[in-house]
Symmetry: C2
Subunit: 171 residues, 2 copies
């Protein structure tokens, strides 16, 4: 890492996002597979496909910047995926696992909302309006993905997890 000015900080932030998204493509596929709830599985599957496109969007940003994505990593997302994997290793009632997956995924989405928000602000400050627009596109998608997860949790998954935890079933 060589960050000295706003331009190199911007490149650093784009690399952080790239490291995050690359890891998330695999993690989201795994979370989709582990989901019990149909709506949740579909939300993860859809967002996995969306994330692949977000990686391509970042690839184009690297090209425009004349920079390489080499060495891109994101220890924070690594930590979040580690936490999600630990949860997947627990012997949890399936509906409770769905709730746990939502809790893990919303942490990821919020991290990304912050990261894209800051990186877009840097792009604007640097006068890179076209790149700011691209980053805003992904930011909007992350916000929608997060809202979708909230809606799934509050509409039925959390209640089902509760019913299952009490030994009753509401399905």
């Amino acid at each position: 890492m060589k960050v000295k000015d706003l331009e190199s900080l911007f490149v650093h932030e784009v690399k952080d996002l790239y490291g995050a998204e690359k890891q998330l493509v695999k993690a989201l596929a795994k979370m989709a597979k582990a989901s019990t709830d149909d709506d949740l599985r579909k939300a993860f599957e859809d967002h996995c496909i969306e994330t692949e496109k977000q990686v391509q969007r970042l690839d184009r940003i690297f090209q425009e910047l004349g920079e390489s994505s080499r060495g891109a990593k994101c220890p924070a997302i690594e930590g979040m995926i580690q936490e999600a994997n630990e949860l997947l290793g627990e012997h949890m009632e399936p509906h409770v696992l769905d709730t746990a997956l939502i809790c893990a995924a919303q942490r990821v989405e919020h991290y990304e909302i912050a990261a894209y928000g800051c990186t877009r602000a840097l792009a604007q400050q640097l006068g890179k309006d076209d790149l700011a627009e691209e980053l805003q596109r992904t930011l909007d998608e992350e916000k929608k993905a997060n809202e979708k997860l909230s809606q799934i949790a509050l509409s039925h998954v959390n209640q089902e997890a509760m019913a299952a935890s009490q030994g009753g079933r509401n399905e």
Copy 2:
């Protein structure tokens, strides 16, 4: 970790928050010390004191649950602090470092907003309304801390970083 039902998932989430906040007290003090901008340093100092109180709030939640905070950890926040420490090790123009610190801190705040949001939702689902209220209090504080950072970045820090990066000074 032993997560099987919604109650044990809730305890797991509270432990994740505890692991996060305990690490953040130290990290925020370090970030305050590294800040150039007076408003930013004060924001970090204020939030550091607030975070100490949030740890005490979680301590009370553990007491009410009859659970111990032993073994609480948060690999995600660990990753974020690692990233922030790497930035602190760079030879950056001071105003640029302020911007970098804000980018790092907003990731942390957003992670916490998601984590407290999910944990509060679990408390509500479990009928633990008093604990839900306590968690909501911290959630509101995290949101305000995040807004404060946005306001500092957009009002002057990002511009100062830009001016410094261009070799000009606007102070």
